[in-house]
């Protein structure tokens, strides 16, 4: 029996603007340690909404969420921030980097925030991750001066800096060309297979999903398979 990293129990979510619409209905599933899971479904079926809840950024839902067997629901904002910092790595579709900082600083920030390791050690680990993703030569560049594919790899490096329990991605390849998408997929695959990293990736890309270990398919706010 493998270890459960993430568990959703009967999660419901409604938007009330302008009329009440139920976007998620009774979402219940678990993700085990080391699993590489993809979430697919038609546009508007609630994938992003679910991911924001799972990542603890959205707290306005019904049901229960457990990360690392710890109940997230009804925790205070400051505690959730700490859990996001320590246990969750997030990769967005649009490569969100802090444009005022260098690539290396972007990767280091969550590590410095966690404050478990001294600065030199955080820097060393950031360089390690940049090297692993083949972008260590960009370390001292300002973040907005690199290409889209490079930015996405920096974002992945940032997501990995604190050795998170789970990496979540909302269409991380959605904005990339085929070559870069392939590269990002290969990185995820390597993370999963070599480093036993748990991954939960929302995607539109059917071929991407097919090559992951498990596919969760959503329709109209429900999980219909996986």
């Amino acid at each position: 029996m493998s270890e459960i990293i993430l568990e959703a129990r009967h999660i419901n979510k409604c938007f009330h603007d302008p009329v009440t619409v139920q976007v998620l209905r009774d979402i219940t599933f678990t993700v085990d340690k080391g699993e590489f899971v993809s979430v697919i479904g038609k546009s508007g079926c609630g994938k992003s909404t679910l991911l924001y809840i799972l990542s603890t950024m959205d707290t306005d839902y019904e049901g229960e969420l457990l990360i690392d067997k710890e109940l997230m629901t009804n925790k205070r904002e400051i505690e959730l921030a700490r859990i996001r910092n320590e246990k969750i790595g997030f990769v967005f579709q649009f490569h969100y980097l802090l444009n005022e900082f260098t690539v290396l600083q972007n990767v280091m920030l969550p590590g410095l925030k966690l404050k478990k390791l001294p600065q030199e050690e955080v820097e060393h680990r950031a360089m390690e991750r940049l090297k692993m993703l083949g972008i260590d030569h960009l370390a001292s560049k300002i973040a907005y001066k690199i290409s889209g594919g490079e930015k996405q790899r920096v974002a992945i490096a940032r997501a990995l800096i604190n050795d998170p329990h789970i990496v979540m991605g909302d269409e991380p390849t959605g904005n990339l060309d085929i070559r870069n998408s392939e590269m990002v997929f290969d990185i995820f695959k390597e993370l999963a297979e070599v480093h036993n990293q748990t991954l939960l990736i929302v995607t539109h890309d059917q071929s991407f999903a097919e090559r992951t270990q498990r596919i969760i398919e959503m329709e109209d706010g429900r999980i219909i398979s996986g």
């Binding site: 950024m57 649009f94 980097l97 802090l98 410095l112 404050k115 909302d170």
Partner: protein, 419 residues
């Protein structure tokens, strides 16, 4: 506490927007500089105007007022003790202005811990004779050294030397206005007639200018000995004892105490010159209002710039929050930004204010009325710098408070979804 990290992030965000940061900081710099300059200058003027009178006014003046005795003999007589006595046409008797026992009183006052110094004085009303003209005036018999030490007498002697009043026998220092009327030059001899009708020649050894023309037209100074001789009095004759205290605010209390202790009239500086205080207070009030208004305006500038910055940095805020920074961290980042604008803007402002004040201090300002003043007066009190820097921090904190709170409440989901 992640304070170093927060400062690091705040600094990076600030430096990425050097232009905006500078505009905000210059606003603070300008207002603090104006605040400092204005207050230094205004207070300098205040001090100067005050010193015209207050520097030369004793904090407590002991004297004998000529007035009818409050205890008429009939009231003291035991047989009329129980009756109500109507006394008509009461007059002051034995008009003795002299302070009785002046020597022991001065000794006693001098040993008082609260007292900085004591100077005796004689006031004599005289006529200056110029041809057929008799001009009324007064001669103050002073202890030149004590008067110089305590009341800056030598500063107001613009021609000749103050000490000559003591060193040259039968000498006088005339008010400049009086000298002009008498057409007297230094070295001339003027004729003086006392109230008793005696005539004396006195040698002019200098002129003084008090800055108040009315005084300069009637007043003159001579040594105590000279005036005693003039009045035909013994060398213990003194009409006033002028007391200067270490703390001027003690004056009313001390005056009351001395009046009791020495059975004498005592007037404190606050009572004698209440109108001056009002004037200074109003000028100070105006300076502070203008300074604080400037700061508030600068505060709104910072508020606007921070608000703008937060709109621009929405994405960055969302990323920070998504990667584990709490609302409190974000709040602190923006407060640090606001406060560092306030701190550096304020520091520069203090410096610029100091430079402005020093420049004003160099500008020549010559007026006959103020012989001791050569340039515009400036008060370099550290208090203004302290208030200025405190206020710059307080206003920028307040200006940063709401934008920072707004930033801390940014919902990362909304931003990320909105892309």
């Amino acid at each position: 506490m992640n304070f170093r990290l927060i400062v690091h992030i705040a600094r990076t965000l600030l430096l990425a927007r050097v232009g905006q940061t500078l505009v905000a900081a210059i606003g603070v710099t300008f207002s603090i500089a104006m605040f400092i300059t204005l207050l230094s200058f205004m207070t300098g003027l205040n001090d100067m105007l005050d010193s015209l009178i207050l520097n030369r006014t004793p904090h407590v003046r002991l004297y004998n007022e000529i007035k009818p005795s409050e205890n008429q003999p009939v009231n003291m007589a035991p047989e009329f003790k129980d009756s109500y006595n109507f006394i008509y046409s009461v007059k002051a008797s034995t008009s003795r202005q002299e302070i009785y026992n002046s020597g022991p009183i001065m000794q006693a006052v001098k040993t008082d811990d609260r007292v900085l110094g004591v100077a005796p004085k004689i006031m004599a009303q005289v006529f200056f004779n110029e041809g057929t003209l008799d001009i009324t005036g007064s001669i103050h018999g002073i202890d030149v050294e004590a008067e110089s030490n305590l009341f800056f007498f030598q500063d107001y002697v613009t021609t000749g030397k103050a000490m000559d009043a003591k060193n040259v026998a039968n000498s006088i220092i005339l008010g400049k206005g009086l000298a002009d009327i008498l057409l007297a030059e230094v070295g001339d001899v003027v004729q003086v007639t006392t109230a008793q009708g005696e005539r004396f020649p006195l040698k002019v050894v200098g002129f003084f200018q008090s800055g108040i023309q009315e005084i300069d037209r009637v007043q003159s100074y001579a040594s105590i000995g000279t005036v005693q001789k003039l009045l035909g009095k013994s060398n213990s004759y003194i009409t006033d004892i002028q007391v200067k205290l270490k703390d001027v605010n003690m004056a009313p209390a001390v005056a009351k105490e001395y009046a009791q202790l020495f059975q004498i009239d005592a007037e404190d500086i606050q009572t004698a010159n209440s109108q001056f205080e009002t004037g200074s207070n109003i000028r100070t009030l105006i300076s502070y209002s203008v300074g604080i208004t400037l700061l508030v305006v600068a505060g709104f500038g910072i508020y606007n710039i921070l608000n703008m910055m937060i709109y621009e940095k929405m994405d960055s805020i969302a990323i920070l929050k998504a990667t584990g920074f709490s609302g409190r961290d974000v709040n602190r980042i923006f407060l640090v930004i606001a406060l560092s604008i306030g701190f550096f803007g304020g520091m520069t402002g203090l410096l610029v204010g100091f430079i402005f004040s020093s420049i004003i201090d160099q500008i020549p300002f010559n007026t006959d009325a103020l012989p001791t003043v050569k340039t515009y007066p400036i008060n370099y009190s550290a208090a203004f710098y302290f208030i200025g820097s405190t206020f710059s921090l307080v206003t920028t904190y307040l200006a940063g408070f709401f934008p920072a709170r707004k930033a801390s409440k940014v919902d990362p989901v909304e931003i990320i979804r909105g892309k």
